[in-house]
């Protein structure tokens, strides 16, 4: 019970911190002091108090977009185990619900973008739709590999059964898997090299261009939902890379938080040292990620 409460509190409060850490890492690479670590929290709180501008073209779907995106991610956060602690709710097949909840959120984000009738937002959602569709099989290959390795059919059981011993037994497969999953993590969260959340050139963006017309509280919800999505997908990835369990509940929570912060530093580093890919290259890399994950599956089920 305590763990469930900590799970929910952590999932609600920690996500914006990851964005802060990424920004700080990028600043230090660039030799700047950078914004405070807690800046994303201030941004969100500020936006919640701002006024809203609605486009006259839009209907209720435009307003529903951010709300559904946040709600689906929040519900998905209940399914994902954080570090060594299992998720508050888990059942056989919950990983499929997990994948499809994101799809639901994405559907409404894209619908909201297209509701504005802007060509930029049309571009953004066309890209988002295609890239997320190509990323989908990678996630499923990963789920198959994990399910086969651990003999379990729910996210909590799967991820808690990955131990250092699993790495010794199926290291090659897991290595390929985390390669594919890392690409999915970056593309789903619109990070460099797939998308740049900080760019101001609308023509080249994906996620940011879809939310051009949102303002005020709705934009705060979008920012927070994006951070939560990074948190939820990051937790999946972190557990695979660092599958240690200490046995002490509070130590495990600490370890998990440190791992998440480290992941944010890694993402920040990648964003500092890499350029954004040309748009035509993105599908190729996504297919490559699928093939990596497919290899890991083949190694395990051969």
């Amino acid at each position: 019970m305590t763990n469930s409460i900590i799970h929910i509190l952590l999932a609600l409060s920690m996500p914006p911190l990851l964005l802060g850490v990424i920004a700080k890492t990028k600043a230090s690479f660039a030799g700047r002091v950078g914004a405070p670590l807690l800046q994303p929290y201030y941004d969100i709180l500020r936006l919640l108090q701002k006024g809203t501008v609605f486009s006259t073209t839009t209907t209720w779907l435009f307003r529903a977009g951010p709300i559904v995106a946040l709600s689906t991610t929040a519900v998905a956060a209940l399914l994902i185990p954080l570090g060594a602690h299992p998720a508050p709710i888990s059942f056989q097949g919950d990983m499929i619900l997990y994948a499809y909840l994101f799809a639901l959120g994405r559907f409404f984000t894209m619908a909201a973008a297209l509701d504005t009738g802007s060509s930029f937002e049309g571009m953004g959602s066309a890209r988002e739709a295609t890239y997320s569709c190509l990323a989908e099989p990678t996630l499923f290959f990963a789920l198959i590999t994990l399910s086969r390795l651990t003999g379990s059919y729910s996210l909590s059981a799967m991820l808690s059964s990955v131990t250092p011993a699993t790495w010794l037994y199926a290291g090659a497969s897991l290595l390929l898997l985390i390669g594919g999953m890392f690409i999915v993590l970056l593309v789903e969260n619109c990070r460099i090299p797939f998308d740049d959340p900080n760019t101001h050139l609308e023509l080249t963006m994906i996620h940011e261009v879809m939310v051009l017309d949102h303002s005020g509280p709705a934009f705060a919800i979008i920012q927070y939902a994006a951070a939560l999505k990074l948190f939820v997908l990051g937790a999946f990835f972190v557990r695979l890379v660092f599958p240690f369990t200490s046995g002490n509940a509070f130590l495990d929570w600490g370890v998990f938080m440190i791992c998440m912060l480290l992941l944010a530093v890694v993402i920040g580093t990648i964003e500092s040292v890499m350029a954004r890919l040309r748009l035509v290259r993105i599908p190729q890399l996504l297919v490559a990620a699928t093939i990596l994950a497919a290899f890991s599956t083949l190694l395990i089920i051969r």
Binding site: T52, V53, T56, F91, A99, A111, D115, S119, P137
Partner: protein, 665 residues
């Protein structure tokens, strides 16, 4: 319920009566001179037949027994039995529901006042189609089966060519007619082999034939070709897109929602005759199914005609169902009851689901096409503001068909995923799980296809003058849509109860006792899905309330969409549906192309010019169309037999009879 009804009257008799009522629904209209009365009467009779038929069918389904009637016919082909077992009852549900809904929809959509010439025929053949399908699933005599099969196929033909003054409609009808008769020819082979095997035209009971005999393989292959052509399994789908696109929308709804399922019913029924079904049969079904699912949805993504997109998505859904059915066969062959249970329940539930959301979408497309007077999605847009109710119900259908939670499409796909994953620890069928990523890709592509459809029709601003002034549809058209949207949501939110509709029908393959052992475990899991649906609704409400509170505390203003500083945005600046799908289509370049004719621009101020894009289907163009040409050339000599002189045709028939008689002696 069954015993209660049994006290008054036999539910099977009620179901038969309902089927007769709906068949006669269009008859009074032929004799009533006043336009419109016949149509309203037909809708009333169809509703009556649904009100009688659906409760009776549910009673039969839950009673899990078989009711048999024998039709007294004078033909020398053995007794003609009509029987309703749980499988037939399960298929009767969508027949009665969609039949009545479409009939009601027609009153507002195809009113006699504006379509006086075609309305009578349409109403009559519509009733005949529904009735023939109802009798098809009851038929237990091969010959009677083929008769009602032909009535079904031909009434569908007359429905497709309702607007026969248009050349493309006649062409679509002709292609359909060729395809359906090729299929029927295969069915003649299949049923003749069956009769040769069993010694009578009566359909054999469950599991009485051995699948290991060589003749069984031939029988199954010809049944797969015959029924597969009706269901639209690739590569037998060539007739489907044009026929669905050119028929009136309530006809497309019943064809896609129910008539395609008759093909699947035929496949399932044929398979029940056999025991010891080999692994190969399941593998064949899975291969055909997954190819249909993937290719169908890839083609759907590229379409720019609203109804063609929906038609291709039907091929995708039929593909998913066939895959699940194949998985169930593998489970049966491998004596793996978990796999068989999960895949069969997924297949049957998806059959039910597709017969709910596809009519909903076709009804919606009818309203939309009527409002914007085009089928071209690139010319629509912004209809959501003028017809908010249509847009809302349509959205329900779109979310369902994309398989998104918490709607019904997700539940059946979830069961299929569970089935595929369940084989991970097994020794022999592990490779089956590799279908899961393909299904995930299909799901992702479905989202592309349907967000493209929904956004280019309902969102943004109108792209042509035709779409500029939409008006909300009338009650008779909205009511069927609302009904289907509600059922989709209910199945999605309460899957643990909805699955009970499917369980009785599963005894065609899996013994009731096995189902009873397995179902509690999976009902609990479906209950978890239900819990999450409610949880999602709760979170949605909380976030919405919080957002509204924030909204009230700060100023609110309205202005034009942000155009990066460009102030005079027009509706032509929007992304059109073709541009939306361009990236996705370019990934699947080998299978489908978006052929684009770009004008050459020159000079500083190029003159206005036209850019045309057209999706082209490689398989159809490169393989199937040349095959038809070859067939046309090689059978040219047969045309000499066909010259339009009735008396000579009669001689053909007589001569055939005499030869057959001599041969029999």
């Amino acid at each position: 319920m069954y015993s209660l009804m049994q006290g008054f009257i036999d539910p099977a008799l009620l179901a038969i009566v309902a089927a007769i009522i709906t068949g006669c629904a269009g008859v009074p209209g032929i004799f009533i001179r006043k336009p419109g009365t016949g149509q309203v009467l037909a809708a009333g009779l169809s509703l009556l037949s649904a009100l009688v038929g659906v409760p009776a069918t549910l009673a039969l389904l839950f009673a899990q027994s078989t009711a048999t009637y024998t039709l007294a016919w004078g033909l020398p082909f053995g007794p003609c039995e009509l029987a309703i077992d749980p499988l037939s009852a399960f298929f009767l549900l969508p027949i009665f529901t969609v039949g009545a809904a479409g009939s009601l929809f027609a009153v507002g959509y195809w009113p006699s006042a504006t379509h006086r010439l075609s309305e009578r025929g349409l109403t009559f053949f519509y009733g005949l189609l529904v009735s023939s399908m109802a009798f098809l699933v009851m038929a237990r005599n091969g010959l009677f089966f083929l008769m009602v099969w032909e009535i079904m196929a031909l009434s569908a033909y007359f429905l497709i060519i309702a607007e026969h003054e248009l050349e493309q409609v006649r062409r679509a009808g002709t292609i359909y007619l060729i395809a359906t008769h090729t299929g029927t020819a295969a069915l003649f082979i299949s049923f003749s082999l069956l009769a040769a095997q069993t010694g009578s035209f009566e359909l054999p009971a469950t599991g009485t034939l051995s699948a290991l005999l060589p003749v069984s393989t031939l029988l199954a292959v010809s049944a797969l070709v015959g029924f597969g052509a009706k269901a639209g399994i690739m590569p037998l789908h060539a007739w489907l897109p044009a026929a669905h696109a050119n028929a009136p929308s309530h006809v497309s709804a019943i064809m896609s929602g129910v008539m395609l399922k008759m093909g699947l019913y035929g496949i399932i029924r044929t398979l029940t005759f056999f025991h010891d079904i080999p692994l190969l049969w399941g593998t064949v079904l899975i291969s055909a199914g997954i190819a249909s699912a993937l290719l169908g949805i890839v083609f759907a993504v590229a379409q720019r005609d609203l109804k063609r997109l929906l038609a291709y998505s039907s091929i995708e859904n039929i593909g998913i169902i066939t895959t699940a059915l194949g998985g169930a066969l593998l489970g049966l062959a491998g004596h793996n009851s978990t796999l068989a249970y999960l895949c069969l329940s997924a297949a049957l539930l998806h059959i039910l689901n597709h017969s709910l959301f596809k009519p909903l979408l076709f009804f919606g497309s009818g309203i939309v096409i009527h409002a914007s007077s085009t089928r071209e999605m690139n010319l629509m847009g912004g209809l959501g503001k003028g017809m908010p109710k249509t847009a809302l119900f349509f959205l329900g259908g779109v979310l369902s068909i994309c398989g998104l939670p918490p709607l019904n499409g997700f539940v059946s796909e979830f069961l299929l995923y569970l089935g595929l994953f369940s084989q991970l620890q097994a020794v022999n069928l592990v490779a089956l799980v590799l279908l899961a990523p393909v299904l995930a890709l299909v799901g992702g592509l479905a989202v592309i296809a349907f967000i493209k459809l929904y956004s280019s029709v309902f969102l943004g601003t109108p792209r042509s003058s035709g779409a500029a002034n939409p008006h909300e549809a009338g009650v008779t058209t909205l009511l069927p849509m609302a009904f289907f949207a509600l059922i989709c949501l209910l199945i999605g939110l309460l899957p643990q109860y909805a699955v009970r509709l499917v369980l009785p029908a599963m005894n065609c393959f899996i013994p009731n006792s096995t189902v009873a052992i397995l179902s509690p475990q999976y009902t609990i899991i479906l209950g978890r899905l239900s819990l999450f649906g409610i949880l999602l609704a709760a979170v949605l409400t909380t976030v919405t309330l919080y957002w509204r509170r924030c909204l009230r505390q700060a100023p609110l203003s309205r202005t034009a969409t942000w155009g990066c500083g460009y102030q005079r945005a027009t509706s032509r600046i929007q992304y059109v549906s073709s541009s939306f799908s361009e990236i996705a289509v370019s990934v699947f370049n080998g299978i489908i192309r978006q052929r684009i004719e770009r004008p050459a621009l020159s000079g500083l101020f190029p003159r206005p010019s036209l850019c045309i894009d057209q999706p082209t289907e490689t398989i159809l163009e490169r393989i199937i169309a040349p095959l038809f040409t070859v067939a046309g050339i090689s059978f040219a000599f047969l045309r000499r037999l066909q010259h339009g002189r009735m008396n000579v045709y009669m001689i053909y028939i007589f001569a055939t009879l005499v030869i057959l008689m001599l041969w029999a002696h």
